[in-house]
């Protein structure tokens, strides 16, 4: 069984601060990992993905994520957040099945 967990339900940061959102997965085989952002009342937007190769992947709007097989993690980072980054962030994984498995999200609140 494949699972995705996001340990932080809510993160509050100041504009200009860095942020790291944690994602851990469980799956025994090869896995595709991705991050999505959902602004309030909107659909999900793709940020980045990883399958193989360089464990650090770059995404849109300055986001990057780092895969760690030893930690079963795929944490998302941004060096300097903007107020528009306030949203819910979802980590997702695709292992053996075709459907994505999502975590329950981390709400990021950016204060001025």
């Amino acid at each position: 069984t494949q699972t995705v967990s996001q340990s932080d339900a809510h993160v509050t940061v100041f504009e200009g601060d860095s942020v790291e959102l944690r994602c851990n997965y469980s799956y025994g085989g090869s896995i595709y990992l991705s991050w999505y952002i959902q602004h309030h009342g909107r659909g999900l937007q793709f940020l980045l993905k990883y399958y193989s190769g360089n464990p650090v992947v770059q995404g849109v709007n300055g986001f990057e994520a780092e895969f760690s097989k030893s930690d079963s993690s795929f944490h998302l980072r941004k060096a300097s957040v903007h107020w528009s980054d306030s949203a819910v962030y979802f980590c997702a994984a695709r292992g053996g099945g075709r459907a994505l498995i999502f975590g329950t999200g981390t709400t990021v609140s950016v204060s001025p």
Partner: protein, 116 residues
């Protein structure tokens, strides 16, 4: 802005009523998914299509939910007899060939269903 178009954005139904949602996938995307997102941000995969054929669906979908993706028409998801527990945001996502395999989906804005 999303290129996956979902209508309506909001719908309110009484228990036992039918609820129908539509989705126009992004042009050229043959793979379509439907997900249910509840108020606790839990996602439930419902069904997915490749062109007009169902690839995978869960048991719940087989009983009260029906979905189709006819050629040259919007995809649709219909709940035959709505229940309070069906209140959720229903998200449609599409993907080009191979995109779904890599976990990159393109989502619509969703249809928020409220069952009174």
């Amino acid at each position: 802005n999303s290129k996956v178009i979902q209508t309506p954005r909001y719908l309110v139904k009484g228990q036992g009523q039918k609820a129908k949602m539509r989705c126009i996938p992004e042009k050229g995307h043959p793979v379509v998914f439907w997900y249910q997102q509840n108020k606790n941000n839990e996602f439930k995969f419902l069904i997915n299509f490749q062109n007009q054929e169902v690839l995978q669906q869960i048991d719940m979908t087989e009983k009260r939910f029906s979905a189709e993706c006819p050629s040259n028409s919007p995809c649709s998801l219909e709940i035959q007899s709505s229940e309070a527990g069906d209140s959720a945001l229903y998200l449609c996502a599409s993907s080009p060939w191979g995109g779904a395999d890599t976990g990159q989906l393109y989502f619509g804005e969703g249809s928020k269903l409220t069952v009174l």
